[in-house]
């Protein structure tokens, strides 16, 4: 008998493709959230594979907070053109024009306005009934409890106590008008899997994942990129440090880490040896013990 063990990356790939096709087959108007990060890149590649030789049968949607790094926006526009996919950009213009900023109103409130409200507004405006997200269960504790098909009520809210049981590979796609499902095809992937896959598949990623010298402020070990919005605190100084971003968020809330990794192999080696989780540089997770859980209940991914 031939060896039927395919490598685990291939198994994960196959499982994710199956999930993506289920959504395309069962929902009227799905969308794939595209955050420009590495997980998004993997998810988009899986969508390409799912419908090959056809094209991805749904648009990508980017929730732009107005605080994304310039390199990210450039990459986004180039990449969607490259793969021939439709892109929708959604912004909570009102909150942006009011000058919403984490240092003004706090991290949690800022996220609620720019990300959660932006996302919910976009879903409502386009009447999407299913939205793919690149979240993984290994990222954060409350995500470990998340279903692959996650039911959200008409307000986009997640109720951890009212989740649909998910058995075998059978996904329940039944919802009423106004309700939606968030779908996480990368649920069972880990950070390492994502990096190996990016390497194996030679998927392009935003250059700020790679190390280079950047002007930053060292704030308690987190390297904050220096720009006009950063007000130096007493004793702080702007330094040029070799660093990179391990995960991409909004510039005021995403710190860089010291690194010399200039290639994907360097990054893999670095992540393998890392003693801290990938979200260590994400200020948004750290505000309370259950900050992510609270955000998700409101409608955040």
């Amino acid at each position: 008998m031939k060896d039927i063990n395919i490598s685990y990356l291939k198994q994960l790939e196959s499982e994710s493709i199956h999930i993506i096709r289920e959504v395309a087959a069962e929902f009227k108007n799905p969308v794939m959230l595209y955050s420009i990060g590495k997980d998004s890149s993997v998810m988009v590649r899986l969508a390409q594979k799912a419908f090959y030789p056809g094209k991805i049968p749904f648009p990508l949607m980017h929730i732009d907070t107005g605080y994304k790094f310039e390199e990210m926006i450039e990459f986004r526009d180039w990449y969607v053109k490259e793969i021939g996919c439709r892109l929708i950009v959604e912004r909570n213009e009102q909150a942006i024009s009011e000058g919403t900023h984490p240092q003004k109103i706090g991290v949690d409130k800022c996220c609620a306005k720019l990300k959660t409200q932006g996302l919910l507004g976009g879903i409502k405006r386009h009447q999407f009934d299913a939205a793919f997200g690149g979240a993984r269960r290994d990222e954060e504790k409350s995500r470990a409890k998340e279903r692959i098909f996650s039911f959200r009520d008409e307000f986009g809210q997640w109720d951890p106590k009212y989740q649909r049981p998910e058995l075998w590979n059978l996904y329940n796609c039944h919802i009423n008008e106004e309700e939606s499902i968030r779908v996480f095809p990368l649920s069972n992937w880990t950070e390492m899997d994502v990096w190996y896959y990016l390497k194996n598949e030679e998927i392009p990623i935003v250059p700020i994942y790679y190390a280079q010298e950047r002007e930053v402020v060292d704030r308690g070990g987190i390297l904050i990129p220096y720009d006009d919005m950063v007000k130096l605190r007493p004793g702080e100084k702007v330094e040029k440090i070799m660093c990179r971003f391990r995960s991409l968020g909004c510039s005021p809330c995403t710190g860089a880490v010291r690194s010399n990794a200039r290639t994907i192999d360097d990054i893999i080696k670095e992540v393998e040896e890392a003693s801290k989780s990938e979200r260590e540089n994400r200020i948004i997770d750290l505000t309370t013990d259950s900050s992510m859980e609270d955000k998700k209940k409101e409608g955040y991914f």
Partner: protein, 653 residues
């Protein structure tokens, strides 16, 4: 972090952990992650801070996994959580499921995708009902490998005797289950004994550690590699020149050029290409997601299934299933539900609940899986047998508006499973495992070739050289089991004996079974206890079936006080051929008659559990006939019986 597995070669083991509240599941998982260096410093730091805040010295490894605020508040695990870790040998996905009784649905959820289950038993508390229930559910879901981790061994001074007695007890129980292999390991999740590294404190134990078992258990054979099954998920048609069928190969393998059939249409063709973005494949197998193109233009859509021409699943719209109920609202017989099976969703109604089993009252008797199901039928305190409540499990018949392409669950998890969706709430209210098609009596009797599928799993019985149909033709009467139930002393035997004489004299093949006959031989090891009487009835039912299969009209007279006992026998015999005769007589009259002096013994306390005195009698709800043995004569009752047999077509008019 530990040195990582090569993502291109290593394989993936999915396992689930189950145990009762406080058995230490979360701690065991925390220990596995911690000792294999799969915990990041910042995650550990967060847990350390909690310990500091609470003024505890040792960090609580369970906090690494209990994620939700409500769980931390209550110190319990609410919902299935998924964890990931890897070693140099394998990558692991853990479905961490709560063991609390009200969360059976979560346990079923976790077990549905698992190759292996770790069942925790607290060494101080030994084998509990829950421990058996966990094993039973794992077996029901066909989780083929099991680790029984006897945890908190440190709290019983690393006692070999405690471990051995738990192993002995659980091993005896598990022989009834359908689990390929079980490994017993003495463990202290808290101290780390035998989890990742071998403990010096258990020198008497020379088996593997938990991690060693997880890393080395052979799971390749868990996949069905024989029967090619490809449920069509999505049709890909980018232009007029390409028409491909996208889906996941859920079992078996396929090559270009192979002859295939499409179900349910039955159209045949050949595989032209197996297309992927990485190039066309020469060979594809489960669990790959691919696109298949065919030589011929045939109309195929989502929900159809592509299979090998000479290896077909069953195409059925009336199915016999084991159903785990997960809805907050009880199951409604006759209500419209959706069934999602592979990529096909159909309207369905649950037409009949055959029996339900209470997983908390398992008997430790040798039994085939089928018998186990039968023995586990409903608890005495539930009288409404026509529904399933949240977390209950039963066997049911489901009618579908369109056929599905199925295999038995124990042969193929993917084509043998389905979920039930309530159209009113859209909630997933049930999980089902298919036993096969529902067969009518005619089909069972006439379609000999299919009869095997009705037999309990794993029991291979050679087809009888002479079929029942042939016997019935020669004997010139139909076969049946006539089951007389009623209080002791009601007059069951008297009536049955007269009936047998009457039938025999008209040339009918008969057999008579009663308590006395069985008790002198087959059942002489059984007492009057409730449990033994259930076993007594089970054996009586099996003997009746043998006679039935050999063409006899079998007359059985047993008090059989519980409805579930009688239903158990009824389930062995095709529908319409099990006739329940309720011989009614008041207890007072029966006590007066007391033909064998049993009531006296019962009232003197010599028989502790005797029907009518200190053990209940459940009257049949819907018997085929009620005989009044108190006021009517034997002749009158015999006449009524003969009429009934004629009207049922058993004997000629």
């Amino acid at each position: 972090m530990d040195s990582h597995t090569s993502p291109n070669h290593a394989n993936l083991l999915r396992f689930t952990t189950v145990g009762s509240v406080d058995d230490g599941k979360s701690t065991l998982i925390g220990r596995l992650l911690y000792d294999t260096q799969n915990i990041f410093d910042d995650q550990l730091e967060a847990v350390r801070k909690v310990a500091e805040r609470k003024g505890e010295e040792e960090i609580d490894l369970s906090l690494l996994t209990d994620g939700l605020a409500a769980e931390r508040e209550q110190g319990i695990t609410i919902d299935v959580a998924y964890r990931y870790f890897q070693t140099s040998k394998r990558k692991f996905i853990i479905a961490d499921t709560p063991g609390h009784v009200q969360y059976t649905r979560n346990m079923v959820t976790g077990a549905s995708t698992a190759n292996l289950a770790i069942i925790l038993i607290d060494a101080r508390r030994g084998v509990l009902e829950q421990s058996r229930r966990h094993g039973f559910i794992a077996s029901l879901l066909q989780v083929s490998h099991m680790i029984v981790a006897v945890n908190k061994i440190d709290l019983v001074d690393y006692s070999k005797e405690v471990f051995d007695s738990i192993v002995e007890e659980y091993d005896e129980y598990s022989r009834k289950l359908d689990i390929k292999d079980i490994t017993y390991i003495p463990v202290s999740a808290l101290k780390g004994d035998n989890v990742v590294s071998k403990s010096a404190k258990t020198p008497w134990y020379d088996g593997p550690t938990v991690l060693h078992t997880l890393e080395n258990v052979h799971i390749g054979s868990d996949l069905n590699v024989r029967d090619f099954r490809f449920p069509v998920q999505y049709v890909i048609r980018p232009d007029l020149n390409f028409r491909g069928y996208a889906g996941k190969i859920v079992a078996g393998s396929v090559n270009p050029g192979e002859e295939i059939a499409v179900l349910p249409s039955g159209l045949v063709s050949k595989v032209k290409t197996i297309t992927t973005m990485d190039g066309d494949l020469e060979d594809a197998h489960a669990p790959q997601s691919v696109v298949i193109t065919l030589e011929d233009e045939i109309d195929i859509s989502r929900g159809d299934m592509i299979v090998r021409r000479h290896n077909l699943p069953q195409v059925e719209n009336n199915i016999d299933v084991i159903l785990c109920w997960m809805g907050n609202d009880p199951l409604e017989i006759g209500k419209n539900y959706f069934i999602k099976h592979t990529t096909r969703t159909v309207n369905a109604c649950i037409s009949k609940l055959i029996y339900m089993f209470d997983v908390n009252t398992l008997h430790r008797t040798d039994a085939t899986e089928h018998n186990l199901f039968c023995e586990l039928i409903k608890t005495p305190h539930r009288t409404d047998v026509n529904t399933l409540l949240l977390n209950e499990i039963g066997r049911a018949e489901i009618k579908l508006t369109q056929p599905i392409m199925l295999d038995q669950y124990n042969k193929n998890r993917e084509t043998g499973s389905f979920i039930v969706i309530d159209p009113d709430t859209n909630f997933t209210v049930g999980a089902g495992m298919i036993r096969g098609a529902v067969r009518s009596i005619e089909e069972t009797i006439h379609a000999e070739g299919k009869a095997e599928e009705e037999l309990p799993v794993k029991v291979e019985i050679e087809r009888a050289p002479v079929s029942l149909k042939e016997r019935e033709e020669r004997y010139k009467h139909k076969t049946a089991v006539i089951w007389f139930t009623g209080l002791s002393g009601a007059g069951k035997s008297t009536i049955a004996k007269s009936l047998e004489r009457l039938l025999f004299s008209t040339g009918i093949h008969t057999a008579l079974l009663d308590w006395d006959k069985l008790h002198h031989g087959l059942c002489k090891d059984l007492s009057f206890s409730d449990q033994d009487r259930i076993e007594n009835i089970r054996r009586a039912g099996e003997v009746a079936r043998v006679f039935y299969e050999h063409g006899s009209v079998v007359l059985c007279t047993f008090v059989s006080p519980l409805r579930c006992q009688r239903d158990q026998v009824k389930a062995l015999i095709p529908e319409g051929r099990f006739l329940e005769v309720f011989v009614r007589c008041s207890l007072q009259t029966c006590v007066q008659r007391d033909p064998r002096g049993l009531y006296k013994k019962a009232m003197d306390g010599e028989i502790p559990q005797f029907t009518g005195i200190n053990s209940p009698y459940e009257e049949p709800l819907n018997p085929d006939i009620i005989l009044d043995a108190e006021y009517k004569s034997i002749e009158e009752n015999l006449k009524a019986l003969l009429e009934m047999l004629k009207s049922k077509g058993i004997i000629r008019k």
